[in-house]
């Protein structure tokens, strides 16, 4: 019950941020305090309930009925997995708040939007009712649009080819194009998700996930309407987490968004789809999911290889990071499609690890942009001479993204590969290996080009402030801790808690 106040703390922070003087330091401090308060609350909750030693833990909270006749109620359930996801979400939000420090334009409003997104994401993770899940999902999606249109960047993209006229009439590359594209995808996605959730809830007679899992004996998810619902949900959640044919919003959205926006997109918004897969598709539609897992394997493989190859072609650092995260999301789906416990736990670990690494990567890209006023790889050079700090952070992020040993990426990718080996489809191991190989290529190339290449006439002009150092070292420490001692995290997502989660 006490954990529910993480939905309330950001709200208080929003009010305080908007009450105080717009130019005072409190506009920066209050949101940060709210976010840290949430983190402390989550840690206190896990300490209070002794989560580290408990094998099985689940808390079910029923607040009030919304529509008892349809079986909708405001209910939440907290398991060990949701604690891990909450911590990830919190770290991402905190990083995003740090990245807004050097925005001078209407800081209180952008912080309000970030906190509103955080309410949505926390509620999404702990919701037990399908309708409540959708409610928080929408809360997380709507502020995104306002964020890009008001604080985004206009890109200068050269348009060529047969569709030049149409594309230039759509003003491709501007921030409003990016914002409308992303909103269109997310809204259509949410439409499909709502239809899917509605079909499930109406057919089962209740919207509570726990209740549906209890009645699981009769073949749930096999009726013809429910199969439609399954595909609607796959499309909806897939378009959110940039599954292959539905990925085109991701690069444009990332490219045009402000740094905070990119961090939230990659760290959380793309994870909303993954959380949907984990919370709803794998649990409720377990039979149908196994039936159609080959399709998912196919799409995820395209994601990994296509994302990696396209990232290689990019000149804009943000686009590079966007395609890299596309490729890494592919690993998550590949692991999910393996249908074994190791697959699920490695998918969750990769979700966390990718969230942390991509935060750091986008944050460092934002720092580079602030220093050099450009993100083009061609124009950037001699970063390690200009600003050793930024270049070190970027190099660490690039290495973690490859999956270098001692970082969290290594553990997650290793577990994914072993889950593929366990599933009896050993040939599939080739796909992540190709992905890792190409990632290594383009990351090394980029590091070499922008950090290590030296051009005469560059002076040292380190422009990294204390708070940026603080948040970067925080992220680096967590990435290394996950890499060195993954057991601490795996304890939360090991076999037993997954069994509870799946309702077995």
């Amino acid at each position: 019950m006490i954990l529910l106040s993480i939905l309330l703390i950001p709200l208080i922070a929003i009010v305080l941020t908007n009450v105080v003087d717009k130019k005072s330091l409190y506009v920066k401090i209050f949101p940060l305090l709210g976010s840290l308060g949430c983190l402390l609350l989550i840690l206190y909750y896990s300490y209070h309930n002794n989560l580290l030693s408990l094998v099985t833990f689940i808390e079910y909270i029923h607040l009030y009925d919304i529509f008892p006749k349809l079986g909708i109620s405001m209910s939440f359930s907290i398991s060990k997995i949701s604690i891990i996801l909450l911590i990830l979400a919190n770290i991402t939000i905190t990083t995003a708040l740090f990245s807004t420090f050097n925005i001078n334009k209407r800081l209180n409003e952008i912080n309000t939007l970030i906190l509103a997104i955080s309410i949505g994401i926390y509620g999404l993770i702990i919701a037990d009712d399908l309708f409540v899940f959708f409610l928080f999902y929408e809360i997380a999606v709507v502020p995104m649009f306002l964020m890009i249109t008001n604080w985004g960047y206009d890109l200068k993209r050269e348009i060529s080819g047969p569709f030049k006229k149409i594309l230039s009439s759509l003003s491709v590359g501007t921030k409003s194009y990016g914002a409308y594209k992303i909103t269109l995808y997310l809204l259509v996605g949410s439409l499909l998700i709502f239809l899917g959730l509605g079909i499930v809830g109406i057919n089962e007679g209740t919207f509570s996930i726990t209740e549906i899992l209890k009645n699981k004996d009769f073949n749930i998810g096999t009726g013809s309407d429910l199969k439609i619902a399954f595909f609607l949900l796959v499309l909806g959640f897939g378009s959110h987490s940039a599954l292959w044919p539905l990925h085109t919003w991701a690069p444009d959205g990332h490219g045009t968004a402000p740094t905070a926006g990119s961090i939230i997109f990659a760290g959380i918004l793309m994870k909303i789809g993954v959380i949907g897969f984990i919370k709803i598709l794998i649990t409720i539609f377990s039979v149908t999911f196994v039936e159609f897992s080959n399709i998912l394997i196919f799409l995820a493989s395209i994601n990994i290889i296509y994302g990696a190859f396209t990232a290689m072609m990019q000149d804009d650092l943000k686009y590079l990071a966007a395609y890299a995260s596309l490729s890494h999301i592919g690993y998550i789906f590949l692991a999910l499609a393996m249908n074994n416990e190791l697959g699920l736990s490695s998918a969750i670990l990769q979700t966390v690890s990718h969230g942390l690494i991509i935060c750091l990567l986008f944050f460092s890209v934002g720092l580079i942009f602030n220093l050099k006023k450009t993100r083009s790889i061609k124009e950037l050079n001699s970063l390690s001479d200009n600003s050793p700090w930024i270049s070190k952070i970027f190099i660490f992020a690039a290495f973690a993204s490859i999956g270098f040993p001692l970082t969290s990426g290594f553990v997650a990718e290793f577990l994914i590969i072993s889950s593929i080996a366990e599933s009896g489809k050993p040939l599939l191991i080739v796909i992540p290996l190709i992905g890792i190989f190409i990632t290594t290529l383009y990351m090394f190339r980029t590091v070499k080009k922008i950090c290590l290449k030296y051009v005469e006439g560059n002076k040292e002009s380190s422009s990294i402030s204390f708070d940026e150092k603080l948040i970067c070292s925080f992220l680096i420490i967590i990435i290394i801790i996950v890499g060195i001692a993954p057991n601490f995290f795996l304890n939360f997502i090991n076999g037993e808690s997954i069994k509870i989660f799946l309702g077995i």
């Binding site: 349809l70 306002l146 809204l187 439409l191 709502f194 239809l195």
Partner: protein, 464 residues
């Protein structure tokens, strides 16, 4: 005399309207304060009568029916009218200062017509109450600021309105020829005779004209553009809701018989047409009032979809949608009326920088627009999405897809407005303005109801 106690709320309101009219004859200085006091007392008495001790059942030779549902709808109608009349009583324009009592007289009569529409269960009373509901609106819509334009719109409205009443009478005649009775309950829906389909079509023509549903939505934009701005909160909600509630009661018996699917198909044409065409028409609008006028069409379509749903739970959801629609719309128009430079040629661009000028109005406007769009944590979310759920349960997948698509489109055009509200503009254009205290109070009431229902929509069923 025994039957009069059923009609006490309506009689109170009629007395109130005459009291306001007589008050205008008395030449006294603070007439406006007396008006407000009379208005508040009269409406509150009628609301209290409706909430407690309004007897239920059929009365006056079974021509009217009172039950919990009609009482709830009437409470909503009266409270919506009270809010919009209080707004009018604050108006600063000369016309409203001088003719306030006449306005009130007409609008309250129209409200009484709407309340009787909700209760009527017989064709003759129904036709009369439809007329009582509409005639004051014809009159008032001619009183707009631009007299040439508003007289044109009012004439259009009047001609087509009377024509639609003729259709209504014709439909009553056809129903009478089938069932041999003027009572609505006696209609035998299962008859295979095509006359019943024809008469339903004529009835639906009238209904679609009065609530601006798809084939007959043409008057709505002209009227919104040229009618006096202060009556828009009334015009956009009360007639629509009274008539949709009537549709709910009219087709209540449809499913008791062996269902006649032709009738459902005809109604579904209305629903599908209004939802899709209304959404498409709204996207291109740049004039704020035309946009709001057209965006009401999909709402009416969704309401009809909820009203003809056979599930028993649909009445709860109808009430929820009514509440959200009344308070969001009334609040929205009160906010717009509070802007200093508002006129009927107001485009969306003119809203830009509103947040700098008056952050209170900007935030409240955003809340109402988000609620109308169906954003979560606001009442509109539950309104739209519940209708989608129950229409999936009874009519299959097509209708929910349409409703959701229209919700997505409505996000586009409502957020377009919100974007301009929060946009920066050059500094020399900004000017601060303060809002009337009573208007702020009214807006806060609407905001509280919108937010409270958004967090717990079950409150409605607990109150009534």
């Amino acid at each position: 005399m025994d039957q009069i106690k059923f009609l006490l709320p309506e009689i109170t309101l009629i007395l109130l309207s005459f009291a306001l009219l007589f008050n205008s004859l008395i030449d006294q200085i603070d007439k406006r304060i007396t008006n407000k006091i009379l208005l508040i007392i009269g409406s509150l008495v009628s609301i209290i009568l409706l909430l407690n001790g309004n007897p239920q059942g059929y009365f006056l030779n079974d021509t009217f029916e009172n039950n919990t549902l009609t009482n709830t709808i009437k409470v909503l109608l009266v409270s919506g009218t009270l809010l919009s009349l209080l707004l009018i009583s604050n108006s600063k324009s000369e016309q409203f200062k001088n003719y306030f009592n006449e306005y009130c007289f007409l609008l309250i009569l129209s409200l009484v017509g709407g309340m009787i529409v909700v209760s009527s269960r017989e064709f003759l009373t129904m036709i009369i109450s439809f007329e009582i509901l509409s005639i004051p609106i014809y009159l008032i819509s001619a009183m707009g600021p631009n007299s040439k334009k508003s007289i044109e719109a009012a004439t259009k409205l009047f001609f087509f309105g009377t024509l639609s009443t003729v259709f209504l009478i014709f439909s009553a005649v056809l129903f009478y020829s089938i069932s041999g009775s003027t009572y609505i309950n006696d209609i035998i829906w299962s008859t295979k005779d095509s006359v019943i389909v024809l008469s339903t079509i004529f009835l639906l023509l009238t209904v679609s004209f009065k609530c601006a549903l798809y084939p007959f939505h043409f008057w709505v934009s002209d009227t919104y553009e040229s009618a006096p701005m202060n009556i828009l909160p009334f015009l956009s909600t009360i007639p629509k809701i009274a008539i949709i509630a009537f549709v709910f009661f009219f087709f209540q018996n449809l499913y008791n018989f062996n269902t006649n699917y032709q009738i459902i198909n005809i109604i579904s044409i209305l629903i599908i047409g209004s939802i899709s065409f209304g959404s498409i028409l709204s996207v291109k609008q740049n004039n704020l009032f035309r946009l709001l006028a057209y965006s009401g069409i999909p709402h009416a379509g969704i309401l009809i979809a909820c009203a003809i749903n056979p599930l028993p739970v649909s009445s709860d959801f109808l009430i929820l949608y009514f509440t959200f629609y009344i308070f969001s719309n009334v609040g929205l128009f009160i906010c717009l009326n509070s802007l200093p430079k508002i006129n009927k040629d107001f485009t969306i661009n003119d809203l830009s920088g509103l947040y700098k000028d008056s952050s209170f109005i900007a935030i409240c406007l955003t809340i109402f627009l988000l609620s109308l769009a169906g954003a979560p944590l606001f009442a509109g979310f539950w309104g739209k999405f519940n209708v989608a759920l129950i229409s999936y349960k009874s009519f299959g997948l097509f209708l929910p897809i349409l409703i959701m698509a229209s919700a997505a489109v409505s996000f586009y055009y409502y957020i377009k407005i919100i974007r301009f509200i929060f946009l920066n503009k050059s500094i020399d254009q900004t000017y601060k303005f303060s809002t009337n205290t009573i208007n702020i109070f009214l807006i806060i009431i609407c905001v509280i109801i919108t937010m409270a229902l958004g967090i717990n929509p079950n409150l409605m069923t607990k109150i009534f």
